[in-house]
């Protein structure tokens, strides 16, 4: 839920990276944290288990842009991808304004992608959030690996709701596609909240 603070001239948004375990959600945040100057980012927090797998969430606050005198800030979260952490995954979704679904492009991970997307739909329903109205994009990660499914196939598996959303190919560990994904979803979140002048290009595909 966007929070507009007129006293501080700040607009806060919450963006959540969702997807199956080891798809690269944390790698996205790590690249963003590494790339941004200190002036436009806060501390990154990772609540991870001993094996570096996300246990609760990763958190990174970033400042994007100034809109009519207000600073737009985006709080980026990841969820734990492993199936049995659904309770904590659901908690992180609370108050979400925009979503990035990070899919693992490898053939042998297609089933996990589909299951995770279904799980997202289910958790959104439990909060009475409507995925058809929520700004979200899909990132097909790990495009540098050998055993990956073609984009058309992944689109058929994951991007087949009534509204087709923008997608990005990525190699998050190298930073490829990371900012394309984030800039697009943050733009969609801003337009979703405040609207955009008629005749302007809308990036909702």
């Amino acid at each position: 839920m966007a929070i507009i603070n007129y006293a501080q001239k700040v607009i806060n948004f919450k963006v959540v990276y969702y997807g199956p375990g080891v798809a690269g959600k944390t790698a996205n945040l790590q690249h963003i944290h590494k790339s941004l100057p200190d002036t436009s980012k806060g501390n990154m927090i990772s609540l991870a288990a001993g094996d570096d797998r996300t246990l609760f969430f990763d958190f990174l606050p970033v400042s994007a842009t100034t809109v009519r005198g207000f600073t737009a800030k985006f709080q980026l979260y990841t969820v734990p991808g492993q199936v049995y952490y659904n309770m904590t995954r659901k908690l992180v979704l609370r108050g979400v304004d925009g979503l990035i679904f990070v899919a693992d492009s490898q053939w042998d991970r297609l089933k996990e992608n589909v299951e995770s997307f279904r799980n997202l739909e289910e958790n959104m329903r439990e909060y009475n959030y409507n995925l058809d109205e929520m700004p979200y994009v899909i990132q097909y990660n790990k495009r540098d690996l050998a055993n990956i499914a073609p984009i058309e196939y992944m689109e058929f598996m994951l991007n087949r709701r009534t509204r087709q959303v923008p997608y990005f190919e990525a190699v998050a560990v190298n930073g490829d596609g990371v900012f394309d994904t984030l800039n697009t979803v943050s733009r969609m979140v801003l337009v979703g909240e405040f609207g955009q002048e008629k005749g302007e290009h809308r990036e909702t595909a």
């Binding site: 927090i45 994007a64 309770m87 904590t88 908690l91 108050g95 609207g195």
Partner: protein, 157 residues
Amino acid sequence: MAIHESDAEQINAVLTTFLGESGATEALLIDRSGQLLAMTGANRALDTVSISALAAGAFSSTGALAQLLGETEFTVLFHQGNKESMHVSTVDDQAILLAIFGERTTVGMVRLFAKEAATAIGQILAAARAKPTNRGALSEPLTAEESRTSLGEPKKP
């Protein structure tokens, strides 16, 4: 939701009274999604953005624990440190109140006055949510240029 200047002033007044009565050093009003709504207290460099995200996470997981026991929620979460402690309590179903306090007061005092402050803040927030949204400068749709966020340069191939 929107917090206007008048809401912020009222909330800050309640938080300032709370600090005076309870002896706590800082009070943070936090949305349950993890965002800081207001803060009053000692002027030191605290990472309030991280504190808010972590406290909301801890409080929500405590709530999930409560549900596993058949409770609606645990209304208070208390962390005791050597010199400083933290008390988190429910304001309403969308906000929580976090108090940081040292050795010059007790958890009992903080708990007592946090309850009073929560009631007052709950009313301010309810009124703020019920107000028609006057967005002022933000009421007109954005131009394409205004909605173009560039958080970082896309990597060139």
